[in-house]
Amino acid sequence: MIRIERRLEQPRWLTVAVPVVSIVVAFLFATLVLLATHHPPLHTFKRLFDAAFLDNGAMTETLVSATPLAFTGLCAAVAFRMNLFNIGGEGQLYAGAITGATVALLLAGAPSPVVIIAMMAAGAAGGAALAAIPGLLRAFFSTNEIITSLMLNYVVALILDYLIFDSHSYLRDTSGFEASVFPQGKNLPDAATWPSWTVHGLVIPLGAVVAVALAFALWGLYARTRFGFEVTVIGDSARAGRYAGMRTRRKIIAVMCLSGAIAGLGGASQDGDFRHQLDPRGLTQANYGYAGIVVAALARYNPFAVLLVAFLLGGLQNAGFTLQGADFPNGLVGVLQGLILFCALGGELFVRYRVRIERRHKPVAEPA
């Protein structure tokens, strides 16, 4: 008989061991899938690893995939510090991409640093404005922010489509015949291209640098400021926060806005670093926002761990893109990602509970 019992204490090592073991187990399951479909598992994994980290230019591509994941991962992690579940990273990233691209087009002709800083500010503001909606609803009407933030993702995705495919908006490229047959966003001015640095062949985009800086800043914010202290107290016990005279409502709104701003910054980085136009198809297909929740969960909401996990999952995603083709199992990367999430969430069980296997009950003698 198998029984599941609650753990009284949660040992520290488990918080590290569970994500690691989860990933290993996910790969074991993937092995089964590969064997069942007649692919050599070890060889396939090796190709995956090579394509993610070792091949020529692989690391550069991995960074391209990892950068948005770092933003959305930080977005989810920040909100969770106050027990808020911001599932809206996806929509907030779109919002940031829209506002970022708009500002870049409006500022055509301005010097590059001005445009870039304006894009960052606009992207952050766009994400924050969107996240403020679930924040306000939660603060004043106790609405569940999981649902409201999730639903807004679809709203923004539709707006994004509308701007490029269904209207002649300012953001849409309407010059020439080709643009009217294949709708796409206007190309952003050259001044709106974010700089990158090349180190030993590895191209580091500005967005990646910003994400790393952001992780440090967030750590400092939470560990060393009054704001972070209040968020931590309220996250631990909202009643204790109210008791200490903290303004819990304001804090909810502020944290949601901060979280949304981070995702929005990620959206602006998509415009400036990688896409150089508002690209609805590319953004909606990438699912950065949802993957960011996985990143944050695997990282256990620690900003530095978010960077690491974003890098690893980014590698996996990148390898998936590169290896797509006839000789590579189609959808393997998606299966792997799903398995990793599944195992990580399942692994949570072992942090909180222990499993005991026992033989049948020994009856206890009753007194006569």
């Binding site: 009054r226 005279g245 003698a365």
Partner: protein, 476 residues
């Protein structure tokens, strides 16, 4: 009838948790009716006939009494897919009749008073045929009259051949009810004595390992000054939006200890929260040192000099997952020396916490220990230390000694007296009449949200107060 007596942190709760399968012993063996047993979970213990009535009830409020009673039972009716409400209700009424515990099996838990809820907990244990019942401080939530009823029930169960283990801090109760008493001190069983041979004084001495003065009223010479907290016709709603505090008018002067007596759930918590700004008054005014508060704003109340020791220590009084250091500055983190501008001075906060831990004798391995891991007494020291450090004008203390051991109670009482001597007006909300009589200058009794009587401490009798607390006619 066996009583378990000991200071907090002496291991009473840990021991009961081992007996009920919540914890597992590191070493040693438990013999039940002569056989070795090993419990892995509460269910194992229940199967063996051991049940516990916890201090905080484990009931499902929207369910009926009968549904709660059958919850977690996995024999006969509990085992089948379908519930048989009639059969369960019949069995519940039969049990409640036999042991003199009147409770309607069809009533829903949230409709019941705390005393009735406790009866449901006991019925739950009886329903599962518990041969051994552990009661953790069962009288904490009862009026003296209700407690007497409980003792009769316990007697009836003992006469029936059941074993009752009774955990209490109240010496006279232990003496009145138990056949034998085991005293625990620092995790060791110090002595087991026959209750008939023991006196409250000898039990207290065994408990703390030294003689202590019982009921010593070191009132001292306190200068009673002008009034520092005035409530005028204050109304407030409870959590469900129904009126909980009804037209309360009360004044506390500097250096005075005013007690509000009453059975839990008669609006004391809501009253305390209203004064502390955690709850908005729907009518009336609250003045602190002559200045009227807007109300409903904890920061305003803190700024005006209201210190508040909440009843719910873990969860309100401290953030349980945060360190002692963080909890020490829970209210002062906005000002120097804990912070400068928007930045926390982490090292300074640690220093402050170490100082507080030394001054107030908080026993923990360091300031980084999460508050959750502290014992009740040490936790209360942290709360009191923080509240006193804010230089308060008024101190509102809600059941500040609930669940503390004799030594802890002594410490808290000393702090409250100190505060009054330093000119702080103390408003003590408590259900413990012994405590109130030991500390208060004036006693107001609260029943169903209203103050139903006020007495000078010297002239009030326990019977008179008990009657008022139970909603009896105002005694003349």
């Amino acid at each position: 009838m066996h009583a378990l007596l000991g200071e907090n942190g002496a291991g009473k709760t840990t021991l009961s948790n081992i007996l009920t399968g919540l914890y597992r012993p590191d070493e040693g063996e438990i013999r039940l009716w002569g056989d070795d047993v090993e419990f892995h979970s509460p269910r194992d213990a229940l199967d063996a006939g051991i049940a516990m009535v916890h201090q905080h009830f484990r009931l499902v409020p929207p369910f009926t009494v009968a549904e709660n009673v059958v919850l977690g039972d996995h024999r006969d009716v509990g085992r089948t897919f379908r519930l048989h409400p009639r059969a369960i209700e019949r069995r519940v009424s039969e049990l409640s009749g036999r042991y003199g515990m009147a409770v309607d099996p069809r009533a829903r838990i949230w409709q019941l008073s705390l005393g009735e809820q406790q009866r449901v907990e006991i019925l739950k244990a009886l329903y599962k045929d518990a041969r051994i019942l552990i009661l953790d401080e069962p009288t904490a939530v009862l009026t003296p009259q209700e407690a007497r009823g409980l003792f009769e029930t316990i007697r009836a169960m003992a006469d029936d051949g059941r074993t009752v283990i009774f955990i209490s801090h109240k010496l006279h109760e232990v003496k009145a009810v138990a056949d034998r008493v085991t005293i625990l001190r620092r995790g060791r069983s110090v002595a087991t004595v026959a209750a008939s041979d023991a006196t409250p004084r000898s039990l207290a001495a065994l408990m703390v390992g030294r003689e202590i003065a019982l009921g010593g009223r070191a009132r001292g010479d306190r200068e009673i000054g002008e009034s520092c907290l005035e409530l005028e016709g204050v109304d407030a709603d409870g959590d469900r939006g129904v009126p909980a505090v009804n037209d309360v008018t009360l004044a506390v002067r500097r250096g005075e200890i005013v007690a509000v007596a009453g059975v839990a759930g008669n609006g004391q918590r809501e009253l305390a929260e209203t004064i502390a700004g955690m709850r908005a008054a729907t009518d009336g005014t609250i003045r602190v040192a002559g200045r009227a508060l807007k109300g409903g704003d904890a920061r305003e109340a803190i700024g005006a000099g209201v210190a508040y020791v909440p009843e719910d220590r873990l969860g309100t009084g401290v953030a349980p997952g945060l360190s002692i250091a963080d909890n020490v500055v829970l209210k002062s983190y906005r000002r120097p020396p804990a912070s400068r501008g928007p930045f926390l001075l982490v090292r300074k906060i640690r220093e402050l916490a170490v100082g507080v831990m030394q001054r107030y004798d908080v026993r923990a391995s360091g300031p980084d220990v999460p508050a959750r891991q502290l014992s009740g007494g040490n936790l209360q020291k942290v709360v009191l230390a923080r509240e006193f450090s804010g230089e308060p004008v008024v101190l509102v203390a809600a059941s500040p000694t609930r669940g503390l051991d004799v030594a802890g109670i002594e410490v808290v009482h000393d702090y409250l007296r100190d505060a009054a001597e330093r000119g702080v007006g103390v408003l003590l909300l408590s259900e413990d009449l012994d405590e109130i009589r030991a500390l208060a200058d004036r006693i107001a009794v609260m029943y169903e949200g209203a103050i139903v009587g006020e007495r000078a401490a010297e002239t009030a009798t326990v019977e008179e107060l008990g009657l008022l607390m139970a909603g009896g006619e105002e005694a003349r």
